[in-house]
């Protein structure tokens, strides 16, 4: 059951240019939350911005959750100005988290840019559940935007880094690295990042017959499945079932369900 509650900001600090991490004391929320799920944060006391901001959980602790976020517009700008001690209305947990199921020899996480947000928490759960750290592909435009590397290293993950400009790791894309790692039928891939990256990841996974779980992002009004604002096109053919809601049918989907062709990259920012 999702809750309407209030969290207390414990910390809200810049971790990279334009990127912040907020730690929120919200025991009821933390108790229910799972990696891949999200919360809606009400950043404004007044009526602008009107809507809450969906944020996936980065880490989930017994009393607290953290959010790793990029400042993109006025809402996230306001979020970045919250100080420790301030309260923030929060709704959640919402959506479906990553499936945590046995049967895979390898777990590979692929993160593009701020798409790394839900993965420290997922890695922690995978380690707890299967006793083995997942492999991590971290990709970003440039070295300063590679986030959470130390967290993953402390958890004992094998980390592969790629940057567009070659300032860290190999010069290239997350999907290039994943291809080298050759996911096979005994592999589950978890990916979050830009749609073009997710599409490439899903294709590589499909080629190797690997399971592939993608976490999508969308403009969202309600977070509850009511507004139908956050839909993506699926491969389902029936008219009434083709559009699937990121908020409640996802945000984590099997990569084979998404109609990647139908996505218009012109709207990506």
């Amino acid at each position: 059951m999702p809750l309407l509650t209030e969290g207390e900001v414990l910390a809200n600090e810049a971790v990279a240019p334009g990127h912040f991490r907020m730690r929120l004391r919200a025991p009821d929320l933390a108790r229910e939350a799972a990696p891949g799920q999200f919360a809606m944060l009400q950043v404004a006391h007044g009526l602008y911005p009107f809507l809450r901001r969906p944020m996936s959980f980065e880490r989930i602790f017994p009393m607290d959750v953290t959010f790793l976020y990029k400042v993109r517009g006025e809402g996230t700008q306001m979020l970045s100005r919250f100080h420790p001690g301030q309260k923030i209305p929060v709704q959640g947990p919402l959506g479906n988290g990553f499936p945590i199921t046995p049967g895979f020899k390898r777990h590979i996480i692929v993160a593009g840019g701020i798409g790394v947000a839900p993965f420290p928490g997922l890695a922690a759960v995978l380690i707890r559940r299967f006793g083995k750290a997942p492999e991590i592909v971290l990709a970003a435009r440039t070295a300063s935007l590679i986030l959470s590397e130390d967290d993953f290293r402390q958890m004992g993950c094998d980390i592969h880094i790629a940057t567009d400009d070659g300032t860290a790791g190999t010069e290239g894309l997350a999907s290039d690295v994943l291809e080298q790692l050759a996911p096979d039928a005994a592999t589950r891939v978890y990916a979050c990042g830009p749609m073009v990256m997710l599409r490439a990841v899903a294709e590589i996974a499909a080629t190797g017959k690997a399971d592939c779980q993608v976490s999508l992002e969308a403009q969202m009004a309600c977070g509850e499945g009511a507004c139908l604002g956050c839909v993506v096109e699926s491969v389902r053919e029936q008219e009434g079932e083709r559009m699937i809601r990121v908020c409640i049918d996802g945000p984590v989907f099997d990569g084979t369900l998404i109609d990647w062709e139908a996505h218009d990259p012109a709207y990506d920012r």
């Binding site: 009526l47 809450r52 969308a218 009511a226 139908l228 956050c230 839909v231 096109e233 009434g240």
Partner: protein, 309 residues
């Protein structure tokens, strides 16, 4: 003191005057996780069409000052799935249902209304003649919204009136020069109430990419940004109509709802605010009761059109 919140909307008896705006509340079940939706005067469901509709391409939403633009395009499960999958939950809750219907032709509306009535799928019909986000509706005079053409409003309303005996509400568009003409047309054609207002046409452009923010280019503006327009249109319509008005448009708190009653609405619908705060509708209902007590008004009926000049 106890206050009488009950209202009669053209034959539909409601225990209180608060419903929700179609399209902002799904089919009710989505919000029952946050509060008992049976506390509402009625639940107004997402538009139902004869066949399922996939709706528009994404992006469908963009936030704008004190509101949002949407271009959902009436994505819905279709009448059959509504009756089979959505209706049983609402009936179990026992909350009155206002079924919003959308068709391409008067015949489709007639079929929707009569099948809903036969299946006991609604307690009232809300006829959506004013969705700004679909491109397949054109009246004989080439107007893209039926609600912009008073003759078409009359034609559609009359056809549905003849086919269905359920209370009939007509949801009109603010994208008109004068709201009184389509409102009067609906009344004369047999509507039991009108719903004012649907969203205002608007658009937003991304200066960096030079592209529209919505894949549909234009969308419907909702939220507190539109409230003064809605209050004014309710007031305009109330001065010429005999039938009740269900007022909506940017209601965020009880004092907003009170404005609509004073301007002449008999009931109100909470719309986009449910997105921001899932329990908004019920808090607004409580706030209306508190207002009546504070002002020692024995019933909500006494507030309707009670604006002082």
């Amino acid at each position: 003191m106890t206050v009488d919140l009950s209202v009669n909307l053209g034959g539909l008896e409601l225990k209180n005057p608060v419903t929700v705006a179609s399209g902002t509340f799904g089919y009710g079940q989505e919000y029952d996780r946050y509060f008992d939706i049976a506390q509402l005067g009625a639940v107004t469901v997402k538009s139902i069409s004869l066949k399922p509709r996939a709706g528009n391409k994404s992006p469908r939403l963009v936030e704008t000052p004190a509101g949002l633009l949407n271009a959902i395009g009436l994505q819905n499960v279709g009448l059959d799935a509504y009756l089979e999958q959505k209706l049983p939950f609402l009936r179990k809750k026992g909350v009155p249902i206002i079924a919003n219907i959308y068709g391409h032709t008067p015949d489709e509306y007639v079929e929707l209304a009569s099948r809903l009535e036969d299946a006991r799928g609604a307690d009232a019909i809300e006829v959506n003649l004013s969705c700004p986000n679909v491109h397949d509706a054109r009246t004989a005079r080439g107007v893209s919204l039926v609600a912009q053409d008073p003759e078409a409003v009359a034609e559609y309303t009359r056809a549905i009136r003849l086919a269905a005996s359920l209370p009939l509400f007509v949801k009109l568009s603010p994208n008109v020069v004068s709201i009184t003409e389509p409102a009067l047309a609906a009344q004369e054609a047999g509507a039991d109430a009108v719903c004012l207002i649907n969203t205002l046409l608007g658009m937003a452009v991304d200066p960096e990419t030079r592209r529209p923010r919505l894949a549909n280019i234009v969308g419907g503006l909702s939220g507190p940004a539109i409230r003064p327009i809605a209050v004014k249109m309710v007031w305009d319509a109330a001065r010429v109509l005999r039938i009740p008005i269900i007022g909506m448009g940017g209601i965020c708190e009880a004092s907003d709802a009170i404005q609509f009653f004073l301007a002449g609405a008999t009931a109100v619908a909470v719309g986009s605010m449910s997105f921001r705060h899932p329990v908004a509708a019920i808090q607004i209902l409580e706030g209306i009761a508190d207002y009546l007590k504070r002002h020692q008004i024995s019933g909500i009926k006494h507030l309707v059109g009670a604006m002082e000049l």
